[in-house]
C-alpha cells in the first residue's frame, strides 16, 4: 500500500476520533444556527405588555390622532397636563411613558421627547417617528393649498424596486440579487479564512508534537520526510472538509426545522417589520421584503412574493463557478499555507517559539479579509483586482469577487499564479522541513530557516 496514503489515513482517523472534534462539529452548527434564529425569535416574542403613552405638550394638539394606536400601544392625548406632576406620577397613572411634543416640532427635530422608566423598544420609537414625519409632511403640503391633495398623494406614491438582471456574453439574462451576492461573497471569503487558519495551525502542532516526542526520527527511517509532511497536510485537509460538510448540513437542517415549526405561525412580513431600519443596511433586502417600519402590516401577499423571488434570485447565481472556484482556491490556498505552517513547526522546539513566525504569516490572510470586505462595496476596484491575483490573498479576495461577476480570463490567470506559487511553496517548505525536524536546540530565526532552504541535506 502506498505509504503516503497510510500516513494520510492515520492523520485523519486520529483527529476525527477525538472528543474535541466531535464536540466542535456538533456544537458549532447549533451556535451558528442560534445566531440566525434567536434574534428572530426574540423579535417575535416581543414584550406583550400593552403600553399606554401619554401625549402632551403645546405641539401635541397639532398632532392629535396623527400617531395611530397599534396592537401594543395606545396614545392618549392629554391637554393641559402638568409636566412635573406627570413625570412623577405617570407610572402610577398607568402610563408606560410620556411623549412630549413642543410647538417647534417642524423646525427642530429635538422637539419631541419620550420619557419612560425603561428604554423603549425600537419599533415603538419608529412608529412614533414615522407617524409624526408623515403628518408633518402632510401639513406642510396642505400649506401649499393644492387642490385634491389627498387624492394626488395616493396616486403619486409609487414603490420603486430595481430589478437587477445580469446579461452574459451570449445575451442571456438572469435575474440576480445584490444582497445574495454579498452574502455569498462574505461567507466564501470568511470560510476560506477560517479553514486555512484552523487547519493550518493543526498541521503545525502535529509537526511540533512529532518533533518533541522524537517520533519523527522513527518515521523518517521508514519514509522520506516530504512523504510525512504531505501525508499530514492532506490528512488534516480531509478532516477540515469533513467538519465543514457536517457543519453546513447540520446548520441547514437546524434552521430548516426551526423555520417550519416556530416561524410558521407568523408571516415573514411581520418579522421583517420588526427588524429596525438601522440594522437593514442592505436596501435590496428591504425592498424584497417591501416594508419600512412605518408601513401598516396590510400588504402581506406582495411581500411574501418578493421573498420567494429573492430565493429564486439566489438560485440564479452561477453556483457551478462558485463551488468549483471555492474548491480550487481552498485546496491551493490551504496547501500553500499549510506547508508554510509545517515548515515553521519543523523550525521550532515548542509551540511558544512559533509566536515570532506567526505574525508575518497572519498578515496576508487578514489583509485578504479586509480587501474582501471592501470588495463587496466596490467589486470593480483596482485593489480588489490586484489582491485577487496575488497568490497569498487571492483565495479570499477572488471568492469575494466572483459573485459579482469576474471575466473568465481573470479567474484563469489568478488560478495559474496560485498553482505555480503553491507548488513552489510546498517545495521550499519540504526542504526546510527535512532539515528542521531533526534539529534540536538551534535558535529558531528566519536566518536559520534560510540556511536550511539552501542546505543540500
Amino acid at each position: 500500500m502506498n505509504k503516503v496514503s497510510v500516513i494520510i489515513k492515520r492523520e485523519y482517523v486520529t483527529r476525527v476520533r477525538k472528543k474535541s472534534f466531535i464536540i466542535m462539529t456538533l456544537l458549532a452548527p447549533v451556535f451558528m444556527a442560534s445566531m440566525v434564529v434567536l434574534p428572530t425569535l426574540l423579535m417575535l416574542n416581543k414584550d406583550k405588555q400593552f403600553k399606554k403613552i401619554a401625549v402632551v405638550g403645546e405641539g401635541a394638539v397639532i398632532f392629535k390622532n396623527a400617531i395611530t394606536n397599534t396592537k401594543d400601544a395606545e396614545y392618549v392625548y392629554l391637554d393641559n397636563a402638568d409636566m412635573n406632576d406627570l413625570k412623577k406620577n405617570f407610572q402610577q397613572a398607568g402610563y408606560y411613558g410620556i411623549l412630549y411634543i413642543s410647538p417647534e416640532v417642524s423646525t427642530t427635530p429635538n422637539a419631541i421627547q419620550l420619557f419612560s422608566k425603561n428604554q423603549p423598544p425600537i419599533d415603538l420609537l419608529e412608529h412614533i417617528e414615522g407617524s409624526l414625519e408623515k403628518e408633518i409632511e402632510r401639513q406642510k403640503l396642505l400649506g401649499y393649498n393644492i387642490k385634491d391633495l389627498d387624492e394626488i398623494l395616493k396616486t403619486i406614491r409609487t414603490k420603486v424596486s430595481v430589478q437587477t438582471i445580469k446579461i452574459d456574453d451570449s445575451g442571456k439574462a438572469t435575474e440576480t440579487s445584490t444582497g445574495i451576492a454579498m452574502a455569498v461573497a462574505y461567507i466564501g471569503g470568511f470560510l476560506m479564512y477560517m479553514l486555512v487558519f484552523m487547519f493550518g495551525a493543526q498541521v503545525m502542532r502535529g509537526v511540533i508534537e512529532e518533533k518533541t516526542s522524537r517520533v519523527v526520527e522513527v518515521i523518517v527511517s521508514s519514509v522520506k520526510p516530504v512523504q510525512l509532511m504531505m501525508g499530514k497536510i492532506v490528512g488534516i485537509a480531509l478532516v477540515g472538509l469533513t467538519q465543514f460538510l457536517i457543519w453546513i448540513f447540520l446548520t441547514a437542517a437546524i434552521v430548516g426545522v426551526v423555520k417550519t415549526t416556530v416561524l410558521k405561525k407568523s408571516n415573514v412580513a411581520e418579522v421583517s417589520q420588526m427588524i429596525p431600519k438601522s440594522v437593514m443596511a442592505d436596501n435590496q433586502l428591504q425592498q424584497a421584503t417591501g416594508t419600512t417600519s412605518a408601513n401598516k402590516p396590510a400588504e402581506v401577499n406582495p411581500q411574501l412574493a418578493e421573498v420567494s423571488k429573492m430565493f429564486d434570485n439566489a438560485m440564479n447565481q452561477d453556483w457551478l463557478l462558485i463551488i468549483t472556484s471555492f474548491i480550487f482556491y481552498f485546496i491551493t490556498g490551504y496547501l500553500l499555507y499549510a506547508s508554510i505552517f509545517a515548515a515553521i513547526g519543523s523550525a521550532v522546539d515548542n509551540e511558544t517559539e512559533t509566536q515570532q513566525f506567526m505574525l508575518p504569516v497572519t498578515i496576508p490572510i487578514i489583509l485578504g479579509l479586509f480587501v474582501a470586505m471592501g470588495t463587496m462595496q466596490n467589486p470593480e476596484s483596482s485593489i480588489s483586482f490586484w489582491f485577487s491575483m496575488i497568490p497569498l490573498t487571492s483565495p479570499i479576495v477572488m471568492m469575494a469577487r466572483i459573485p459579482f461577476g469576474v471575466p473568465y480570463w481573470q479567474i484563469a490567470v489568478s488560478m495559474v499564479i496560485m498553482l505555480i506559487t503553491f507548488l513552489a511553496f510546498v517545495w521550499m517548505a519540504a526542504k526546510v522541513y527535512r532539515t528542521g525536524i531533526l534539529m534540536y536546540g538551534k535558535k529558531s530565526s528566519w536566518k536559520e530557516i534560510w540556511k536550511w532552504l539552501t542546505y543540500r541535506g
Binding site: 486520529t14 522524537r214 522513527v218
Partner: protein, 302 residues
C-alpha cells in the same frame, strides 16, 4: 562477506565535524558494538546508516551493493530516545509503523500477536503509550523495530531504562534474532553487555575511529600478562621478583588472586611455583574488561 560496510564516512554540521573518515565493516550475523563517549558521533553514524541524514563524504554498502532508499525496508532502528506518539494506542501504533515499513495490515497483525504474547504484553494493546512506564514503552518500540524481520537491526543504547530482568530479556532477544539470521549493530556505554554480546566493535571518539576489531582479539592485545587464579580454601600468596599480586581475596570457601607476571616468565613455571601453595581450581589469563580498555583508550587519546 560483510553485510554492511561504511567507507570513509564524513559529516559536518556547520563548523563542527561530527564524523571524520569513519569506516566500519559488519560481517553477516555478527553482533557489532558501536562504542564511544557522549558526543563521539555514534548517533550521527547511525542516522546516516538509516538514511535519516546523508553523509558529506563516503559510501555505504548493504550486501555488497550501494545503499538505496528502499533498503530502509530491510533495516530496523530503535533510537535512543523514545519515539512514540504519546496519545496513540499501543496496538494501533505498532500496526502503523509496521505498515510504514512495508508490511501488509494482516501480516503485521499476525506477527504482533506473536510478539505481544512472547514478551507478555497482551494487556497493553489498547492502552495509550503515555500510560506505560519508560521500560514498557521501550519494549513496545523494540517490537516495532524488529517486526518486519529486517536483516540489519540497529539499536541505539538499548539497555538504558530497563530493570535487570527486562534487560536480560532484551539480551536474549538480541541473541535470538542473531540466531535467526539477523545482523545487529548496537551502540552502548554498557560495557558488560559488550563483553556478553558483541563479536566485533568500533570505538569512536570525537568523530574518529580509535579502536576496532573483534572483542576477543582486543582484550588479548590489551592483556598485560595478568592471570586469574582460584584456590580452594584460604590461601595467601606473596609476590616475588617473577610476579606481583594485584589483588586477592577469600570468599565463599575459595580464594581468588590476580597476579601480574614479568614478560619473560612462562605459565608453566608460574603454575609450578604456586602449586605448592594450595589446591588450584582454575588458572586463566586475565583479560581486561572492555570497561577498562574503553577508559584507557579514550584517556590516552586526550
Amino acid at each position: 562477506m560483510s553485510l554492511f560496510e561504511a567507507r570513509n564516512v564524513s559529516k559536518q554540521f556547520g563548523s563542527f565535524k561530527a564524523l571524520d573518515n569513519v569506516s566500519i565493516s559488519v560481517p553477516e550475523q555478527c553482533i557489532y558494538g558501536l562504542l564511544g563517549p557522549n558526543g563521539a558521533g555514534k548517533t550521527t553514524l547511525i542516522r546516516i546508516i538509516n538514511q535519516i541524514t546523508g553523509p558529506d563524504a563516503g559510501e555505504l554498502f548493504l550486501n555488497g551493493e550501494k545503499l538505496m532508499p528502499d533498503d530502509v525496508l530491510s533495516i530496523g532502528y530503535l533510537p535512543e530516545e523514545r519515539g512514540l506518539y504519546r496519545k496513540m494506542k499501543v496496538g494501533e501504533q505498532a500496526l502503523y509503523f509496521a505498515q510504514l515499513k512495508g508490511l501488509s495490515k494482516a501480516e503485521a497483525m499476525r506477527r504482533l500477536k506473536y510478539w505481544f504474547k512472547k514478551l507478555d504484553m497482551v494487556d497493553w494493546w489498547g492502552k495509550k503509550v503515555e500510560e506505560l512506564s519508560k521500560g514498557m514503552q521501550q519494549k513496545v518500540q523494540f517490537i516495532t523495530t524488529i517486526l518486519h524481520e529486517p536483516k540489519l537491526i540497529i539499536f541505539d543504547e538499548p539497555f538504558t531504562g530497563f530493570d535487570p530482568v527486562n534487560a536480560n530479556t532484551i539480551k536474549n532477544e538480541i541473541l535470538f534474532l542473531r540466531d535467526r539470521g539477523a545482523t545487529i549493530i548496537f551502540s552502548t556505554h554498557n560495557m558488560g553487555s559488550v563483553e556478553e554480546l558483541c563479536d566485533n566493535i568500533t570505538l569512536i571518539d570525537k568523530g574518529k575511529t580509535i579502536l576496532e576489531g573483534s572483542v576477543d582479539e582486543i582484550r588479548r592485545n590489551w592483556a598485560a600478562n595478568e592471570y586469574d587464579m582460584v584456590f580452594n580454601g584460604d590461601v595467601k600468596i606473596e609476590g616475588n621478583g617473577q610476579y606481583q599480586i594485584l589483588k586477592q581475596d577469600f570468599d565463599d570457601g575459595i580464594s581468588s588472586i590476580r597476579l601480574k607476571t614479568t614478560a619473560t616468565i612462562g605459565t608453566n613455571e608460574i603454575l609450578n611455583n604456586l602449586m605448592k601453595s594450595g589446591t588450584i581450581v582454575s588458572f586463566n589469563p586475565a583479560l581486561p574488561s572492555m570497561n577498562e580498555i574503553f577508559i584507557r583508550v579514550v584517556e590516552s587519546k586526550n
